[in-house]
């Protein structure tokens, strides 16, 4: 199989690393060659963070570049806008409509652009946008945003649901398992009408 590329983008602290870990585990269990590239350290401190996940018969480069991603899982609007040029023109974008103002906006040196979701939809990309934060809170914790998004992604791949559930179970603390399974289900069953 030719290499497929998925990007996970968000703000440091939103739990993007857990999402990439679960995705990597699922793809490995499906028998693919997999590479997952993360950035640790300084940029994790509330900065823009991106993780690259690639899989197929044989993966060489661990990174994804402009025009290469088959799917982008965006944890925040502005980050979706920042990385949209990395999506293939016919790629899928799954978007949490949550907004987190970067410090450049807080200090007034820049503005948070309006109408990002419409702009993204007009770009030609296949966009699924919904308020993941509200769903996560409904599941029991604002911190479950990552698992809701994983559920939404899982529903848009060819990989069996059980493989996803097994990886979620492996990667979340036991005492928050029920909460996370509920969050996964919310993302998985989310339909267009609920957007």
């Amino acid at each position: 199989m030719p290499v497929k590329s998925i990007m996970i983008v968000g703000v440091g602290g939103q739990g993007t690393l857990l999402a990439s870990r679960i995705l990597g585990e699922v793809l490995t269990s499906e028998g693919y060659d997999v590479k997952v590239s993360e950035v640790h350290g300084m940029s994790q401190r509330g900065g823009s963070v991106v993780t690259y996940v690639k899989y197929g018969d044989k993966v060489f480069s661990p990174i994804i570049e402009k025009g290469e991603a088959d799917m982008i899982l965006a944890f925040e609007q502005l980050e979706a806008a920042r990385w949209i040029s990395y999506l293939k023109p016919d790629g899928k974008l799954i978007l949490n409509t949550q907004k987190i103002a970067p410090m450049t906006v807080v200090t007034g040196s820049a503005e948070y652009p309006d109408g990002i979701v419409d702009e993204l939809k007009n770009s030609g990309a296949d966009v699924t946008a919904f308020d993941v934060l509200s769903l996560a809170v409904k599941a029991g914790s604002a911190k479950a945003v990552n698992v809701v998004l994983i559920g939404a992604m899982a529903a848009r791949t060819d990989i069996a649901k059980d493989a996803w559930l097994a990886a979620v179970k492996d990667n979340v603390p036991q005492k928050f398992l029920d909460l996370n399974l509920k969050a996964f289900e919310m993302g998985y069953t989310l339909t267009e009408s609920e957007e």
Binding site: Q44, P62, L78, P89, M103, A110, G124
Partner: protein, 579 residues
């Protein structure tokens, strides 16, 4: 069984399988996780050392004692450890000794972009460079074998994209040979001039033998590999640059992948280059491989087509060599940058706000608090390297004594132990009227929460003796030592003012555990009473990521981020911020 390994985790697995007994490191992105993963194996003794020099000397001692040993560090850490490295090259080893140096092209989390391959050549020790996690594991084991066969420390060089990428690797059992016997041998282990002269001869002979290894056995062992496809283009590369090249060019090119980057083969490269029409050397940072080729009369294209700066990538290589560019999506929105920030509830915030009010010069250092340099706090004037805040402040105050009344140094607890304490001794000994603020957040923060000698715990989480920063400062001769809680703005301000006014050196310990530590209990998020908020933006001056202005330009606090530290509450003159 194959599974996904982070590059650093694969190195740790290699240490385990190679029967490594002792690991000593100082944390540094992107190398930190090697030692954290190694500490999960009960068979390996692991520790965080106070700095990289100590770590390498520990590894040297263990190796001479007969135990396979390891130390890991980031590129700038190798500068600190360079002193033992250059002489350990002369003494050689008893049991194998391996060093990982993790370079950071693109400076994801570093203050410079040095190319540590030069260290291998300068210290005359072999250097291997893996290109994925499978090679991280395998090359680590090979490094121990090389170390013992050729009587030398061996460096394994990683870059961020190898250290922090996960890919598949297969595991094997641990070999456990026990300790090698130590035999007293001052001609080998006591490096004073007469002995060292002999050892230098041995080092030069060793390098020639290692060069032979890289021509032959390194190829049959799968360290240096050749892949012939189309011979119109030949690529000489190593590490992640091989992966970028292979993806960019596929079977349109042939590849010589050099897993051993020092010493480099000559015949192997000449034979490869002779087969190909046009040969490119693709390497991030300096022209290390290219210089070797050109010195040996091999006609290659290198830095005339590729940059000395930053990271490479598959599309950059495709563009330079094939002229290809990909179609991309565009949207009509100006996307503001999102630089990293001090976290909500970060104890450093209150301290930096206090320094801003005092309008002081801030001699800065390496850690989370370097983010205090960014707006809106903007309270850092210099940041050079680990420990430089303290020693450079002394220099500033010696240059002009008037500076002392309006300058401070800021340095974290771990950084202070790493190399700030020597600067403080200099301040006391050579008597400059300097104010040193130790930002004690009870952990090594930026690298992801490692214990250090001040925290009272070791790498395994066991309780151990803790360095008392107060007593240490007093012991080196500082009489004015105060401790403040940076969440308490008025007391922090008082302590800073008094220290600046004093006619003697001062140490202020700004003490409050990192808000991200698991044992730190958070208060409920604060709220803004919109009726009382006058939109004065005082609360915005501290650069807290949880605070922004809502559509009505009233302050707004993000409940998902706020940890209730109440620093903003102390700034609000209208009591609009409530518990």
């Amino acid at each position: 069984m194959k599974r996904l390994f982070l590059g650093n985790e694969a190195v740790a697995r290699g240490l385990y399988e190679a029967g490594c007994h002792v690991v000593s490191s100082y944390p540094g992105t992107p190398s930190t996780e090697i030692t954290e993963f190694a500490a999960e194996y009960d068979e390996i003794y692991c520790e965080w050392a106070p700095n990289e020099k100590v770590a390498m000397e520990v590894a040297v001692g263990s190796s001479i004692a007969g135990a396979r040993s390891f130390c890991g560090m980031k590129h700038v850490g190798l500068n600190v450890a360079a002193d033992p490295l250059f002489t350990a090259s002369y003494t050689g080893v008893n049991a194998g000794m391996v060093i990982v140096v993790a370079d950071d092209p693109g400076m994801h989390s570093s203050q410079n972009e040095q190319d540590s391959r030069h260290y291998a050549k300068a210290a005359k020790v072999p250097m291997l460079e893996p290109s994925d996690s499978e090679e991280c594991l395998r090359f680590t084991k090979t490094a121990f074998e090389l170390s013992e066969s050729y009587d030398t420390p061996v460096i394994v060089r990683l870059t961020t994209r190898i250290a922090h990428s996960r890919s598949l690797a297969e595991t094997a059992d641990r070999v456990n040979d026990g300790l090698r016997a130590y035999e007293k041998n001052p001609r080998k282990y006591v490096m004073m001039p007469a002995m060292a002269r002999d050892r230098h001869i041995a080092v030069e002979e060793r390098t020639l033998k290692l060069a032979d290894w890289s021509e032959g056995k390194a190829v049959s062992d799968g360290i240096n590999t050749v892949e012939y496809n189309s011979k119109k283009i030949g690529i000489i590369s190593s590490g992640v640059c091989y992966q970028y090249s292979r993806e960019a060019l596929g079977d349109k090119a042939s590849y010589l992948k050099l897993g051993c980057v020092y010493p480099l083969p000559v015949r192997l490269i000449k034979d490869f280059a002779a087969q190909c029409e046009k040969v490119y050397v693709i390497e991030e940072l300096d022209d290390f491989l290219e210089t070797h080729c050109k010195k040996n009369g091999i006609d290659v294209i290198g830095k005339e087509s590729f940059t000395l700066l930053g990271e490479y990538s598959q599309s950059m290589i495709a563009k330079v060599i094939l002229g290809d560019e990909k179609e991309t999506l565009k949207i009509n929105a100006a996307v503001p940058p999102r630089p990293p920030v001090l976290c909500a509830g970060c104890p450093h915030r209150g301290l930096f706000y206090t320094l801003k009010k005092q309008k002081v010069f801030v001699s800065g250092d390496i850690g989370c608090y370097t983010l205090g340099a960014l707006q809106p706090l903007g309270m850092m004037d210099t940041c050079i390297c680990m420990g430089a805040s303290v020693s450079a402040l002394h220099g500033r105050n010696k240059a002009d004594g008037e500076n002392a009344k309006k300058s401070v140094a800021v340095i974290g607890d771990s950084t202070f132990i790493h190399s700030g304490v020597t600067g403080l001794i200099n301040i006391a000994y050579n008597n400059s009227n300097s104010v040193v603020i130790i930002l004690d957040n009870s952990i090594t923060g930026m690298t992801g929460h490692q214990q250090n000698p001040t925290t009272g715990y070791n790498i395994k989480g066991d309780p151990v003796a803790a360095v008392s920063l107060e007593k240490l400062a007093e012991a080196v001769g500082i009489k004015r030592v105060t401790v403040v809680d940076p969440y308490d703005l008025s007391r922090t301000e008082k302590a800073v003012k008094e220290a600046l006014e004093a006619d003697e050196p001062s140490v202020i310990i700004s003490r409050r555990p990192c808000a991200l530590l698991k044992y730190v209990k958070h208060n409920p998020p604060l709220k803004v009473d919109k009726d009382k908020c006058r939109s004065c933006k005082m609360c915005m001056k501290i650069g807290c990521p949880a605070i922004s202005l809502d559509k009505n330009t009233k302050a707004s606090i993000d409940f998902t981020q706020c940890v209730g530290c109440k620093v903003c509450k102390q700034l609000c003159r209208f009591d609009a911020i409530t518990d």
